[in-house]
């Protein structure tokens, strides 16, 4: 199996597998595949958001509450990276 392109990818996939309630195997999805097209409901995306917050010890601010933040594995990884960067000590 190839290495994940993003350092968070494996943990994001694991979170999606547990909380996104997708009708397809998360491992079959490409990083740019649309998760809502794949069957994730808006409510399931809320559960994913809460799970990601717990997994990565972050909090999604209101400004990031939009479909595009959670629409793909890549988008989620990018969002987490931006939030984690904010939390890094300078």
């Amino acid at each position: 199996m190839p290495e994940p392109a993003h350092p968070f990818e494996a943990r994001v996939r694991s979170t999606l597998a547990e909380h996104a309630r997708l009708p397809v195997d998360v491992e079959t999805l490409q990083v740019y595949d649309d998760l809502f097209q794949a069957g994730m409901t808006s409510h399931a995306s809320v559960n994913v958001m809460l799970a990601l917050e717990e997994e990565f010890d972050i909090e999604f601010p209101e400004e990031m509450l939009q479909k595009s933040t959670f629409e793909s594995i890549e988008a989620i990884c990018t969002s987490i990276a931006s939030l984690s960067a904010i939390g890094d000590p300078v």
Partner: protein, 186 residues
């Protein structure tokens, strides 16, 4: 034959003048928006199971939680209907960027048992920007799903909206009252 006061041929009303606010509203109907959403009870159950109190606090207001609490636990139907109402409201607000926080859209139970929408914070700001002057809400649930429809009037002052047929709803009153409070606070 005696003409009724206000009738077109009555001496009390100038010919051709439409002073009835209902007629004026019908002559220039305000723009409207509608949003609908369907929520699965199983998604609510999944949120409760996985995140418990954090899920409840993040998505629902204290008043909503009071309304959804039963002696035997949480009413999934009531929670799902309220979630659907929030999503339907987001569709009405049509945010160009991020969506408002769920807690800024509250389903407020009225004394007569009906429910109305009360917006605050970002949701209220988005409604104001969109020119929304009144909101009306309807919710339902059946089996494994709950649904909500939100109807909004845009571009008319609340007083005019209240004079429209069927416009005297708790949702309109709440929103008009909110607007009045905002004006008073300004």
């Amino acid at each position: 034959m005696t003409a009724l006061p206000g009738a077109p041929d009555s001496p009390h009303a100038p010919l051709g003048a439409l002073t009835d606010p209902l007629s004026e509203a019908q002559a220039t109907p305000p723009a409207c928006r509608v949003g609908v959403d369907l929520a699965a009870l199983s998604d609510v159950q999944a949120g409760l199971d996985a995140h418990g109190e954090r899920y409840l606090q993040r998505v629902f207001t204290p008043h909503e939680l009071d309304c959804c609490r039963t002696p035997s636990g949480w009413s999934l139907q009531s929670l799902a209907a309220r979630y659907a109402a929030k999503e339907a409201t987001i569709k009405v607000l049509q945010p160009s960027g991020y969506q408002p926080d769920w807690n800024s859209m509250e389903v407020r139970r009225q004394p007569d048992g009906s429910c109305a929408l009360v917006l605050s914070g970002t949701a209220a700001a988005m409604a104001e920007e969109a020119g929304i002057t009144s909101l009306s809400l309807s919710m339902t649930h059946e089996g494994a799903y709950a649904a909500a429809v939100v109807f909004a009037l845009c571009g008319s002052p609340p007083d005019a909206a209240l004079s429209l047929p069927g416009g005297l709803t708790p949702g309109l009153l709440e929103f008009a009252a909110l607007n009045e409070r905002k004006k008073a606070d300004a």
